[in-house]
Amino acid sequence: MPTFFEALSYDFLRNALIAGVLASVLCGVIGTFVVVKRLAFISDGISHAAFGGMGVCFYLGIDPLLGAIPVALVCALALGAVDRETIRSYDALIGVLWAVGMAVGVVFVYKTPGYAPNLMTYLFGNILLVSHHDLRVILVLAVSVLALLFLFFKGIVAVAFDEVFARVRGVRVRFLMSLLLTLIALSVVILIQIVGIILVVALLTIPSVISLMLWRDLKAVLAGSVLIGVAITLGGLILSFYYDLPSGPAIILLGAVLLVGAYGFKKVRRRRPVHP
């Protein structure tokens, strides 16, 4: 059996590695906002709803990734446009989008003539199936997301920290929230390739949750969650290579182990009050 590094001469493993690193950078940055702004459930809803678009594209014989993007964007913008104070059950709305998306996806995949695709690949992802074409799409999406976030960073941080104050200051809070949700939607689409629909939310949140436990400065938290994301993606990939595990779950489980470890570390190391 070749070692992991020898195996890197294979295209599919190199693609997997590059896709994994790109996804980790996105996860670390966007995921931090998902965690601090408590948008994990919305992200999960977008991820599942996107399956509807993937199913339709599969039926039509075009790239499922291209179906996931518009559906994820529409869901994100719709959820951003709804006034949370007037709609009684925002979480129920997310739940409905989630279920309808999955149902549409399953119906279309079922009705696709000929070879039925393996649903498990979409649900749990397979980073080893990332093609050169996928990699190009992921690269374009990742660069756009990071560029937009960088441009509007100040405003998005202000809205994430204190939305009401930002509104009093005349900041365009609705626009910024919709933008943030759009960036989350695009990230989700990328992550579906890596860990699949069901595990997206874990990859978005685990690195940032760990990082938020260990650091208190926003930039440190962002850098920390990128590094943790890269570590668990690469680590998971190596584990899946040596122990013949499905890559998505291997990545998530490694993250979960790190999360528990970080929690224990934080409990053991009593933090000194810096400014009593």
């Binding site: 405003g155 941080v157 204190d162 009093v168 200051r169 900041v171 365009r172 938020l212 208190r216 810096v274």
Partner: protein, 260 residues
């Protein structure tokens, strides 16, 4: 030309079928230290949201005659209650204060040298310079309160609004806060929304008592009858001029006790 910077005219607002504010009118004068008082759930914070433009009233209007004109956007200083923002957010106090410079036009522009200078000045004024690099999550309630005031002041507002400013801070910080607000009041009008009537008694120039309706608006020597009407139960009233005490504590009456 009126002396009023802010005029609330017949504002009615509610949620669903329940009316929270019923034809409330009041004004903020050029030199005011206005205390908006009333029981919890009486609509004080809702009124503040209407004035700040966060919610649109069912009927009535808020008119501004600010030195900068009639457009209030970005001209009102706001110090929120601690419960309205994320206290665990990974943010340094200095960066939080800087956020007060954020406005509509500056969305894509990085913070300028003038922004940073204004933030430094506000931090100096509020004795926060040593805490500039401290994190929101690790400072005391009083320190965080001062940083919130600094954030409200960096944009040089025409009126300063504070929502329940004494709720989350200790007695010593309250004294500091009182001195600070009295000092600020020499240059701008201050509006304090509070159920804690006693805290600002010595410096309040006028009060507004709100419990759905406006019960009283004027000098802070109101009668026991008005107070009882507002709070809906008997209260002891101590005359204005006795520092730090307007109302006696009543064990059976919880509307001016702290909930934090």
């Amino acid at each position: 030309m009126t002396e009023n910077l802010v005029e609330v005219r017949g504002v009615t607002f509610g949620y669903g079928r329940e009316v929270i504010l019923d034809r409330v009118s009041l004004d903020v004068e050029r030199r005011d230290f206005l205390a908006v008082i009333g029981p919890n759930g009486g609509g004080k914070t809702t009124l503040l949201k209407v004035i700040l433009g966060l919610i649109r009233p069912w009927s009535g209007e808020v008119v501004f005659h600010l030195p900068s004109g009639s457009d209030s956007r970005g001209r009102l200083g706001y110090v929120p209650q601690f419960s309205t923002f994320d206290k665990d957010f990974p943010l340094r106090l200095g960066d939080m204060v800087l956020m007060g410079r954020l406005g509509n036009r500056a969305l894509l522009r990085p913070y300028s040298r003038a922004d940073r200078a204004a933030a430094d000045l506000a931090m100096e004024r509020l004795n926060l310079v040593p805490l500039a690099r401290a994190h929101v999550a690790e400072v005391s309630g009083g320190q965080l309160q001062r940083a919130l005031i600094a954030r409200a002041l960096v944009s040089d507002p025409d009126v300063l609004f504070l929502d329940e400013p004494t709720a989350s801070i200790d007695a010593e910080s309250r004294e500091t806060l009182r001195e600070l607000l009295a000092d600020l009041n020499r240059t701008i009008p201050i509006v304090v929304v509070t159920h804690d009537v006693t805290s600002f008694a010595p410096m309040v120039s006028r009060i507004a008592c709100i419990n759905r309706r406006l019960f009283y608006h004027g000098a802070p020597d109101l009668s026991r009858e008005v107070m009882e009407e507002v709070y809906g139960c008997p209260v002891e009233l101590v005359t204005h001029g006795v520092p730090h005490r307007v109302l006696d504590d009543h064990p059976h009456h919880d509307s001016h006790e702290h909930r934090h």
